[in-house]
């Protein structure tokens, strides 16, 4: 892609007016970068090639984040990976995503350039094509810099059925790595805290494909907002079984645990953007874990607990000292405590 002089230029209302300025912007910032045959047709909807008799999986998510750049990622990589991961945890191979931008008038053109370049790189890495999109510019103050909506389509192999209905007593709970980094990375950047914590923002399809190939996966979720605790609570409620997890098996990086300790936050409730929680058949757990560890996103994978008959609908944590406590959903935001 040839980069025009984006420096010092700003987004104007006319960039969203549908005229020549908009065409040029869309071409430079999106089409040239996301380039693929489907997008190149520039039709009102993307016409996708047929994919046999497999099941389609369709999702959408909007991304609003402050700050838009943070250690380990940015709103662009988040918008691609987030939607890719929503498909992946359904067992769907992500194929196509859309890209709708709502941009605040006055945004620096080079910021937009960085974001769409990040989307380009992230989608290539995740092996998805951005095939359709939309751009709107709103008056200064009507949006905070940029909002992105991505919708995604993936295909599910006929024999892949992931559902909480398949969960049984004794099933194991696996996570692919250390928790809590994304939320803290964003917060540190926003509040100007000095930490080395980087967001775990990543596409999960690669590792999930590896996991699925081992068989025995019953259900998966990505613990984004609300963190691991919230996802486990939902699984316990939906499946009707209890969940027992062990604090000592939870992978948490030292930086994350000391930083959350200082702020009075609980890593179990902090958002992740590159983590998957899988409920797997007991006899398959070790082979799935072994496969996960071969993937860079699964090096710290760990069995963190199991499905139980007792404590139906509840998540019980065995604390580091062997005490027990019930884990509940996150209500509102975690707020640092006064002391």
């Amino acid at each position: 892609m040839k980069k025009k002089n984006a420096e010092n230029k700003k987004i104007l209302l006319s960039h969203g007016s549908g005229g020549a300025a908009m065409s040029a912007l869309v071409k430079e910032m999106m089409i040239d970068k996301f380039d693929n045959p489907t997008l190149r047709r520039l039709s009102d909807s993307a016409v996708l090639p047929p994919s046999g008799n497999k099941q389609l999986c369709f999702t959408t998510d909007s991304y609003v984040i402050n700050p838009i750049f943070f250690p380990g990622g940015d709103i662009g990589s988040l918008a691609v990976n987030g939607t890719v991961n929503d498909l992946s945890v359904m067992g769907a191979k992500p194929l196509y995503i859309s890209c709708s931008l709502i941009i605040e008038e006055g945004l620096d053109m080079d910021i937009l350039d960085k974001i769409t370049t990040s989307m380009e790189k992230t989608s290539k890495k995740a092996n998805v094509q951005i095939v359709t999109g939309d751009t709107k510019v709103v008056e200064r103050g009507s949006a905070d810099k940029i909002f992105i909506n991505t919708a995604g389509i993936g295909i599910i192999q006929k024999n892949t059925i992931l559902s909480t209905k398949r969960i049984k007593n004794g099933d194991k709970i696996i996570i692919n790595g250390e928790i809590g980094a994304h939320g803290l990375a964003v917060m540190s950047k926003r509040e100007n805290f000095k930490t080395n914590i980087k967001s775990d923002c990543a596409s999960l399809w690669g590792i999930i494909e590896t996991m699925l190939s081992a068989g025995g996966i019953k259900f998966m979720r990505d613990p984004t907002r609300g963190g691991v605790a919230t996802v486990l609570c939902e699984i316990a409620e939906q499946s009707g079984f209890g969940i027992q997890i062990k604090e000592e098996t939870l992978p948490i990086h030292d930086n994350v645990s000391s930083f959350s300790e200082i702020l009075g936050l609980d890593p179990l409730y902090i958002a992740n953007e590159g983590k998957v929680i899988a409920i797997v058949a007991k006899d398959k757990a070790s082979s799935i874990l072994a496969r996960m560890k071969t993937n860079p996103l699964g090096k710290e994978a760990s069995i963190i607990g199991e499905i139980t008959k007792k404590n139906k609908g509840r998540v019980v944590l065995e604390t580091i000292i062997g005490g027990k406590r019930i884990i509940d959903r996150l209500t509102g935001d975690q707020l640092p405590r006064i002391c």
Partner: protein, 364 residues
């Protein structure tokens, strides 16, 4: 983190828990231990230590959560300030959800009030410098632990000649609350778990007269599972074996006998001790901090005048009784029904340090 994990050792925890349970063999009746520190409330639930201990030990959460002891009138005042077009409220996060008589800062923020969540009172000064045409009102809520920080912020504001920074001082002192609880004969307290952080500032002295006058076993305790268990063991020993009350310090690695002189001198420099209203306990003599005359130009109450709504309390809310340990969250008809962390009726449901929130979250 290695330093911390040593205080989370599983084998040692079980060893101490067993020793405590053995001490109670043959002891008749329940033993009620009260902590007066939100971080104790949180750590006790978070670590699950009570599940290791004999059911004869009862854990009472006293008035140790700063948000929870703040009366409605204070919140109403902050809300009234937030309605003034030239005011920016700065506050620690958990204050914004606390319901006042008819609203909360969270609701006012959504309808246009300028309320900013900050992590250190010093951030208020940056905001003040950036917004010279606004009045920045910091909600100074907290105990002896927070007060030195706020004092030092006021001193910095003076040094930097910042004229648009004000503090609404709702700071409170812990020892007077402990005394007030002991004066209420209907509350059975067999021992105090004295707050580690507050003690790091005030030292051992303020507790000595309480222990002597009321014969109440008291131990200054830290926040890790081993700290808590060791502190409880010291209390149970006083109650069941020694049968005399004394003040002991389990948290010697942090709490010095004389406290933190520098922090204390900051408090004394900027604040006067005054009578102060506590939710649930009423007006307690010499239990709060107001800004000294010499720093009156930073005192929100003397400088910003506005109309404050008439204070109303929710008739069914038992936060006051819960704070005193005379009622449990389960006793409240609102608990986990009308009142939840999503929609708190009383302040004890707001902060993660609040007793009701802790019961809701960890036990239900």
């Amino acid at each position: 983190m290695k330093y911390i994990t040593e205080y989370r050792n599983k084998d040692l925890s079980h060893k101490i828990a067993n020793r405590i349970n053995n001490l109670l063999k043959g002891y008749k009746g329940k033993i009620s231990l009260m902590e007066v520190c939100g971080t104790h409330t949180y750590s006790i639930f978070h670590s699950g230590i009570m599940s290791l201990l004999s059911k004869e030990i009862e854990h009472l959460s006293g008035p140790g959560c700063p948000v929870c002891v703040t009366p409605n009138k204070y919140i109403d005042t902050a809300i009234a300030y937030s309605h003034l077009p030239d005011v920016i409220i700065t506050t620690f996060g958990d204050m914004i959800k606390v319901p006042g008589s008819t609203s909360s800062l969270e609701k006012e923020k959504a309808s246009g009030s300028n309320v900013k969540i900050i992590y250190s009172p010093l951030e208020s000064l940056k905001i003040a410098k950036k917004n010279p045409d606004k009045k920045i009102v910091f909600l100074g809520v907290g105990f002896e632990t927070t007060a030195p920080l706020v004092a030092s912020t006021i001193l910095s504001a003076k040094d930097e000649n910042i004229k648009n920074f004000f503090v609404l001082s709702g700071h409170k002192l812990i020892p007077p609350a402990m005394t007030a609880l002991l004066e209420r004969k209907e509350i059975k307290i067999d021992g105090f778990m004295c707050p580690g952080h507050v003690s790091a500032i005030i030292g051992e002295k303020p507790y000595l007269s309480i222990v002597k006058k009321y014969g109440i076993p008291s131990v200054i305790i830290g926040f890790e599972p081993i700290d808590l268990l060791e502190g409880i063991e010291m209390l149970i020993k006083q109650i069941t074996v020694k049968k005399t009350a004394s003040l002991e310090n389990q948290y010697k690695r942090v709490v010095r006998k004389e406290g933190n002189e520098k922090a204390l001198s900051l408090i004394n420099k900027v604040f006067d001790v005054k009578d102060s209203p506590w939710r649930g306990l009423g007006l307690l003599s010499k239990s709060g901090l107001s800004i000294k005359k010499a720093y009156a130009k930073f005192d929100a109450e003397t400088n910003i005048v506005c109309e404050i709504e008439k204070t109303k309390e929710h008739p069914e809310c038992l936060c006051g009784e819960v704070l005193c340990g005379t009622k449990r969250p389960y006793d409240c008809t609102l608990f986990a029904k009308t009142c939840s962390p999503e929609n708190p009726v009383g302040p004890c449901m707001v902060s993660s340090e609040g007793t009701c929130a802790a019961y809701y979250k960890f036990k239900k």
